[in-house]
Subunit: 368 residues, 2 copies
Amino acid sequence: MSDLHAARRTRLRERCAAVGSAAALISRPANVRYLAGGVPPGAALLLGPAQDVLLCPQALCDDAGEGRPAEDLRVLVLPAGGGDPALAAAELAAGAGAESLAVEEHHLTVTRHRALAAASTRLRLADLGRTVEQLRLIKDDDELSCLRIAAEITDHALGELLESILVGRTERHLALELDRRLADHGAEGSAFPTSVGTGPNSGRAGHRPTDRRVEEGDFLTVRLGARYRGYRCELGRTFVIGSSPDSWQIELYELVFAAQRAGREALAPGVEYREVDRAARQMLDSAGYGEGLEPATGHGVGLEIDEDPRLSPAAMGKLDACVPVTVQPGVQIPGRGGVRIDDTLVVRPPADGGPELLTITTKELLAL
Amino acid sequence: MSDLHAARRTRLRERCAAVGSAAALISRPANVRYLAGGVPPGAALLLGPAQDVLLCPQALCDDAGEGRPAEDLRVLVLPAGGGDPALAAAELAAGAGAESLAVEEHHLTVTRHRALAAASTRLRLADLGRTVEQLRLIKDDDELSCLRIAAEITDHALGELLESILVGRTERHLALELDRRLADHGAEGSAFPTSVGTGPNSGRAGHRPTDRRVEEGDFLTVRLGARYRGYRCELGRTFVIGSSPDSWQIELYELVFAAQRAGREALAPGVEYREVDRAARQMLDSAGYGEGLEPATGHGVGLEIDEDPRLSPAAMGKLDACVPVTVQPGVQIPGRGGVRIDDTLVVRPPADGGPELLTITTKELLAL
């Protein structure tokens, strides 16, 4: 594990050297974790100019919740009330003779950036940009196996829920029960707030569970995901409650199912992000649902639930092998409800069998 | 409710005018909510120069989870993929003839701030600083009644847990059960990640629940809080498992209890923040536990769980009436465990009976 993190830091160092910076300050939490292993909240990583140093805020360093920092790192614990680890890192870099320091301008606030500049006037601050996010795009074997386990946990949690009686229970309680089942199966927690939508709330993007109870004839949409060793996956399904779905429900389900399949089947190395989006979107669009659609059909997953790439009409770039993404189109008819189907897959070349489906819960329309 | 939000905006407008800015852009989520009511995630609020406008990212505006925006606001929903609401707000301000725009530099990233500056070159960007946070410090009646309900829910959730059998259950499951009970009693969700620590994990600040099971003789520390209409409170208690606590447990409990009481009793309008901290800290310090203490003894609560003021040795400022704060000292002995007692109170003058205790669960040492 330590070698893995050291290798990632070596790759980052090469990128920094290419833009003329001997030192970099990593502050975005998922980026720090990617390069340094399990770290307490608020930690910052100084890369170079000499030894790499992880700076931790004192109060939180006891907490061993999600693993330990990589062993080759020097760990500096700030004293209580010792201020911003990023500031301490900048002072350290200046003290070690660095002339410039690349920082994450997309993460640092203007106020924090100004404090950094003031703390070390000899240091020229440069922009590291989204370099670490770019490194994080393609996952290594270790990361993919974490995602596979996260998906397995998620499938189990949902599978168990489907065996229980649903009618009469509230969205909120079903969501809490899913959270409990994720923990039962070994998740560190949920990858994002679990969403359960019933009746008119079904199919709604980002729906937050309410006190509405499941009724006969409802569509029921769930979206959940486990976090395992920091890695997050996503699974979304829609069911119908009662023995006989209405014809509009069957029609809508088949449409979204076909759109989601088209998106999944479009996944391959070299395919443009927006091609995947278009494959799913155009089916919903030509059925007359274009206007209410979400801006993206899917997104990358990993240490964050919503990472690069973005599968949307304006996204620039092409898929690579070993990039995990979601494909998650949905349609919602105001007042009636809707359908949303969401999988996590890993992009693979056709020669390797095409995209690897991580979330294997059935996508048949189940009547529960 | 709408009047309330409009009055808050009027007060902010006066502060802006005092520093010569006719328009302000509010981006920090809790600040937007304070001034605009229930808003979707990612919304930004433009205050002046003409009508106030709430800018919402399209995909999320359907979600009516936590109330509606104030009725006097103009709501502008950006089209799908319509980009950053803050950018749209800056363009709107420039179009309406504003010459300067005060922004929240402690919230905007460097990258986002640069995009704002580039989008509207005629507009001079100024710093609004923590003006809205300052307005949020003293709570009005509406806010205090939300906090009272949040505390009531929290007390109920914990009370129910204490009636059940605890030995043999894991920290993780107890935390999930508390979350479920918070929802049962009407919470929108938990105010922060519920913490349950047993045995050596008890008393640890910011402990994340593990798979450790409750054993006879353990200290058990819980920290939880409900969110109600956006408002968050905090309650922490320590119990002992089994019929007869050890003498070290009784001693440590009495010490932390006395320190927490000293902190609570120090709360009054006009008292310096650091005086409250000192009242609690010096008791733990003189008992030899000074080194491992957290940097602060308490903090404000409201729309965020950790707001101003900060009750710490270096904090500058004095308490006001109607400011809700936590008092939460704790001691942890590595390898053995510890005690943490945490209440939410509202500062009141002695003539009104002194601090109002919101979280009323007993602080006797219960043996469960």
